[in-house]
């Protein structure tokens, strides 16, 4: 046993072991070393832009990373978002006087009100709708055709959020929603942030609208939503 190395004074580490155990420790060291290097390489390639290696071995990187080591650190990069995207909803209700369509109700404005002057906004206010509409727009063509199963998931999700919010508004006594919910329609309204007052730039600030299709509301959509707080 080497005794000249000062570290093993309290009998720890590889030098405190006899040869058979040392072999086990050395193998473990090698395995851990290789795994660490492999993991760091994979994470690096995952966060790096598309390059020679990822073009060739992208599948291997994805297999290693997803789902548990997925990460995205393009925080406000390459450019910060320069527009406010609002989600508005209107509903078709069956009333005694026949079918009736509400005006557009701004759901994002509800979120913004909840966030205002709150030191600790909830994910339900800050992320739910914002990311759901991102997910929808990212998984649909401009003609609202879903691109695969993820697109259909996002449709159902948007739809359930809308119904949940409407049911909640109705429960709060919103007179606009008197009646039986039959169909809902969502639209996104994109408003560019005006250029800074101190800059010479001018930005067109006219909002642009995108209407999503009408979706029928079934009893199943409403049922659980009412139970949700």
């Amino acid at each position: 046993m080497d005794t000249h190395v000062d570290e093993d004074r309290n009998a720890a580490g590889i030098l405190a072991l006899s040869l058979p155990y040392q072999v086990v420790a050395a193998v473990a060291l090698a395995v851990v070393g290789v795994l660490t290097c492999a993991h760091l390489t994979m994470v690096f390639l995952h966060v790096a832009p598309s390059n020679t290696l990822t073009k060739r071995h992208g599948q291997a990187v994805d297999d290693w990373i997803y789902p548990e080591f997925e990460q995205n650190w393009k925080l406000f990069a390459p450019n910060p978002l320069q527009q406010n995207v609002s989600v508005e909803v209107r509903a078709e209700l069956a009333t005694e006087g026949g079918a009736h369509t509400t005006t557009w109700i701004d759901l994002t404005a509800q979120d913004a009100r909840a966030i205002r002057h709150h030191p600790f906004p909830s994910h339900t206010q800050q992320n739910q709708l914002r990311r759901a509409v991102d997910f929808y727009l990212g998984s649909h063509s401009d003609e609202d055709v879903a691109d695969g199963p993820r697109g259909r998931l996002s449709e159902e999700y948007m739809h359930r959020i809308a119904v949940l919010r409407l049911v909640r508004l109705a429960a709060q006594g919103d007179r606009r929603l008197d009646g039986d919910l039959r169909r809902v329609q969502l639209r996104s309204v994109t408003r560019p942030v005006p250029a800074p007052a101190w800059s010479t730039e001018t930005t067109a600030t006219t909002p642009s609208y995108r209407d999503f299709p009408w979706w029928p509301v079934s009893r199943a959509d409403r049922g659980p939503a009412e139970g949700v707080r």
Binding site: V5, D6, D8, A11, A12, G13, I14, L15, L17, Y21, A25, A28, L29, T36, L40, V43, V47, Y66, P67, E68, E70, N72, W73, F76, A77, P78, N79, P80, Q82, N84, T108, A109, D111, I115, R116, H118, P119, S122, H123, T124, Q126, N127, Q128, R130, A132, F135, R150, L153, Y157, R160, V193, P194, P196, A197, W198, S199, P224, A225, V228, R229
Partner: protein, 423 residues
């Protein structure tokens, strides 16, 4: 930064010895990473930071928990099942749609955060903590943000880290054991550990039973390895197979040091990615980038404050350029302790600013917790001593009563290596 410093110093000592060759320096390095779990204070503060972040988040969302993660929320269990069938993410919440099961998992997640914060049976609790974090965050991925992402990764890495060496109930218990052993009578038996192990074994069986809907195979394998490892450690510690115990210690140290390196590399990658992608953005180039987030409805809890900060073009430009410079530079400053520490302070302050200004306290706390892995040991030790003094004063504990805990930590840290870790 103590850890890499330590490694370099270990090799440097070798060089100073004169004729110490490459093989000898290598031997020293190998001995260092097998004999010690490096960075006891850094890993403890990271543990405390992330468990506090998760606890704060869970308590904040308590009234919204059903809407975010419950079986009947907008992202219903059925939707989650369809997504997970595709991406195979780990979540025990997919086992059943029972309301009670959901409440139980949420409750255990809260409890695990408290216990990890206190450092009670840290190794076992960190596994429960990871299971809770992954189960909830993977259950509803579309309500998360960057903060959730950092927490998600950290909870996995922390499982491999010996993060309860100091500032923990474990450290206090170890010190008490040592005192009792020195005093003579045999130490009391620990019942909580074996009991916890047995209970977790039951859950592990359930996880194995449900492995089809619980995530990728390697997570289940990892859980088994950890569980068996903990059992083995207990046996070996109790029945004193001397060398086997040292071997297990070596394996644990290796896993710890590797996970610590990964954790540090992750922080570097976060800043490098955030910085280098910004360099390419026209708004970061023309110095107006900061102005825009301050005018987004979702990130302006204090509109007057945001307006004030965005009102001066030069000010906005300076902060915009400063942000990019700091993020791009950070990984390189690790080569120089002083610069690294200055930048660390700047980044922590910037995150504190983001917490308030953009209304992102969870994200900011998670980032600060991750940054903390680079805090210098001397600072952490001093801060720990000050915190302990404050606690003693608040609790009016006899001066002789408590320092045991603190001394343990330090004793253990320095006892584990020949030198004190001066960051």
């Amino acid at each position: 930064m103590s850890t890499p410093d330590d490694l370099t110093r270990t090799t440097a000592t070798g060089a100073r010895d004169g004729k110490a060759g490459l093989d000898q320096r290598l031997a020293r390095a190998v001995q260092a990473v097998t004999a010690r779990a490096l960075g006891p204070y850094q890993t403890a503060i990271v543990r405390i930071g992330f468990s506090l972040t998760w606890l704060a988040f869970l308590l904040r969302e308590l009234p919204h928990r059903h809407e975010l993660y419950g079986p009947d929320g907008p992202w219903s269990l059925e939707l989650a099942r369809r997504l997970v069938a595709d991406n195979r993410a780990f979540s025990v919440l997919l086992w059943t749609d029972g309301r009670l099961w959901f409440e139980f998992v949420y409750g255990v997640a809260v409890l695990s955060a408290v216990l990890l914060l206190l450092g009670w049976h840290t190794r076992a609790v960190s596994v429960v903590f990871m299971a809770g974090v992954l189960s909830l965050l993977n259950r509803s991925v579309f309500v998360g943000d960057g903060g959730d992402n950092v927490l998600h990764l950290a909870s996995i890495y922390l499982v491999l880290v010996r993060c309860g060496q100091v500032w923990s109930l474990d450290a206090r218990r170890a010190a008490r054991r040592a005192r009792e052993a020195a005093a003579g009578p045999p130490p009391r038996r620990d019942l909580a550990g074996p009991l916890l192990w047995t209970v977790l074994g039951g859950f592990l069986l359930a996880t194995t039973w449900f492995h089809d809907v619980t995530g990728e195979w390697w997570v289940v394998v990892l859980l088994w390895v950890l569980w068996l490892g903990h059992g083995l450690w207990w046996l070996v510690s109790r029945y004193g197979a001397g060398e086997a115990r040292v071997l297990l210690d070596v394996l644990a140290n290796l896993a710890h040091n590797a996970a610590l390196i990964v954790l540090m590399a992750e922080v570097c990658l976060i800043y490098a990615t955030a910085g280098w992608y910004k360099v390419q953005g026209s708004r970061w180039q023309d110095g107006t980038a900061l102005y825009y987030p301050l005018h987004l409805d979702y990130f302006t809890p204090w509109p007057a404050l945001s307006e004030l900060l965005a009102s001066g073009g030069v000010m906005v430009m300076l902060v915009t350029y400063g942000t990019v410079a700091v993020q791009v530079a950070f990984p390189f400053t690790l080569l120089h302790r002083g610069t690294k520490n200055v930048l660390l302070v700047v980044m922590m302050l910037e995150h504190a600013g983001i917490a308030v200004l953009l209304g992102l306290p969870v994200f900011s706390l998670a980032m600060i917790s991750a940054d903390a892995v680079f805090l210098p040991t001397a600072f952490l030790v001093a801060a720990g001593a000050r915190a302990a003094r404050m606690r003693d004063r608040l609790l009016r504990i006899r001066p002789g009563g408590v320092p045991g805990q603190r001394r343990t930590g330090e004793g253990k840290a320095s006892g584990a290596g020949p030198r004190t870790l001066v960051g």
